[in-house]
Structures are given as structure tokens and as C-alpha cells.
């Protein structure tokens, strides 16, 4: 990064672009969880409903964290377009599996930004992203544990499985 740009920005422009993509990804994940929450809400799956509403909030918080980070460091955060949100699901288990796949994609995307930040010596972003890496590892673990419940309670009524979903 040249000196003129460095005086205006603490983060690297290429990393800023990736962070802006990440905002879009987090907001899409938030919208996707909202769709899942609605599916559960309509079927009186109360624990899953609460779980996905909370996930939707969390993903939005992640997006906002990145949004403010970009602007605070002299960059330009871009409000993303969120389109093609799937509202059509087959089963509760399928929803959690989709959730896990979504979380893995988000983790991979954060790794990509982390690697780029390291490559271009953007230490500010590298340190900032460490929180996200820990957070993603926890998110993936949460989903895996829930899918385990489905395996352990195979054949039980859906409502009983739903009642084992953590709400805190």
C-alpha cells in the first residue's frame, strides 16, 4: 500500500474488499436463519424457533462488527444486497445440516481473509479476525452437537427432539 493511501486507511484495500464480501455473507446467513426460524415458528417447534431467531441476530451482529471495523479504519463499508434466500425446507434435521454447511462456508471465507491479511501485512485485520475464528469454531460445534441429538434420538417424535435443542 502506498504512503498516501496508508495515511488514510489502516487496512489494506484488497482486504477491505474481502471484508465487504464477508458482510454480505454474514447478512445472507442472517436472512437464511430468519427463514429457518419462520419455518420452525409455523410448525410450533419452539426451541428451534428461538435458536434460529438468536442465530439471525448473531449473524447480523457479526456483519455490523465488520461494517464498523472497516469504517473505523478509514475504509468504505458497503451495505450488501441480500437476495435468493431459501425459504423452502424439507425437515428440521435438514435445516440444521444446512445451518452447519453455512457456518463452514463462513469459516472458510474468514480463513481466506485471514490468509490475505497475513500475506499483505495487514496486522490490524489479522488481529480483528481472531475473534471471528474462535466464534466460528463455537458456532460449528453448536450445530454438530444439535445434529448429534438427532442421531441419538432417531425415531422419537419431532417435538421431543425440538425440546432438547439448547435455547441459551
Amino acid at each position: 500500500m502506498n504512503t498516501i493511501v496508508r495515511k488514510q486507511m489502516s487496512i489494506h484495500p484488497e482486504v477491505m474488499d474481502l471484508l465487504n464480501n464477508q458482510i454480505g455473507m454474514e447478512m445472507k446467513a442472517s436472512a437464511s436463519y430468519l427463514a429457518m426460524a419462520s419455518w420452525c415458528d409455523q410448525r410450533e417447534l419452539l426451541h428451534s424457533k428461538a435458536f434460529f431467531y438468536r442465530q439471525a441476530e448473531e449473524e447480523r451482529e457479526h456483519a455490523m462488527k465488520i461494517f464498523e471495523f472497516i469504517n473505523d479504519n478509514g475504509g468504505a463499508a458497503i451495505s450488501p444486497n441480500v437476495t435468493n434466500v431459501n425459504n423452502d425446507f424439507e425437515s428440521l434435521r435438514g435445516i440444521y445440516e444446512t445451518g452447519l454447511e453455512q457456518e463452514i462456508k463462513v469459516t472458510e471465507s474468514i480463513f481466506k481473509i485471514f490468509k490475505t491479511a497475513r500475506k499483505v501485512d495487514d496486522f490490524t485485520t489479522e488481529i480483528f479476525l481472531q475473534w471471528f475464528i474462535t466464534e466460528q469454531s463455537e458456532e460449528e460445534d453448536t450445530f454438530r452437537s444439535i445434529i448429534d441429538i438427532f442421531d441419538l434420538m432417531e425415531g422419537m417424535p419431532l417435538k421431543m427432539i425440538d425440546e432438547r435443542i439448547p435455547t441459551e
Binding site: N2, I4, V5, P13, A76, I78
Partner: protein, 102 residues
């Protein structure tokens, strides 16, 4: 006297740094003052217009792009070579790769 279009393009679309937060974009028709956030916005728009799919769309349709610059105070007309030259100039300014992205 014949005009060498390539030389013309290379000599136009230059970005100059004036003061800490003031930049100037020289185009063949006008000189545009830009703040740093306006520079970032210009970079974003140019990057968006020069993706592989955007360039394809432009070439297969109108073959030019109209671009609002400096908080919509200026409108510039760009044909493909000019668009690519501006991308190159902006990339050089930000010290990033000028490659066309997919």
C-alpha cells in the same frame, strides 16, 4: 494529423494527490476534485464495472459505461479502453492488482 488513440488514453485519466485529503482525477474533458471516500467509491464502481461478466455485458450491449463520480457531481463517459485505463490508474494508486476479476 492522425491521432494515436492508445497514446491519448495513456496520457488521460490520471490521478494526482493534492493535499492530505484532496485528490484530482484528470480526464480528457474535465478535472474532477475528489475526497478520499469519493476515491474509494470510484474504486468500488470501477472494480464492479471491470469484472469479467460486467465487461462482457458492456461489450455485448451499449459498449460504453456512464459513471457518476464525486458524490454524483460529475458524470463521465467511458469506452472499454478508457474504463480499463482508469482501472489501471486506480489500482496503481491503491497499489493493488489491476487484473480483471471473475
Amino acid at each position: 494529423m492522425p491521432v494515436n488513440k492508445e497514446i491519448d488514453i495513456n496520457q488521460s485519466y490520471q490521478i494526482k494527490h493534492l493535499t492530505f485529503c484532496k485528490y484530482v482525477l484528470h480526464t480528457p474533458n474535465k478535472t474532477i476534485d475528489l475526497s478520499f471516500p469519493q476515491m474509494l467509491e470510484l474504486r468500488r464502481k470501477i472494480n464492479e464495472l471491470t469484472t469479467y461478466s460486467s465487461l462482457n455485458r458492456i461489450v455485448n450491449n451499449e459498449n460504453f459505461a456512464l459513471l457518476f463520480v464525486a458524490d454524483k457531481q460529475h458524470l463521465i463517459f467511458l469506452e472499454i479502453p478508457q474504463l480499463l485505463k482508469l482501472k489501471e490508474e486506480i489500482s496503481a494508486f491503491f497499489h493493488t492488482s489491476a487484473a480483471v476479476c471473475a
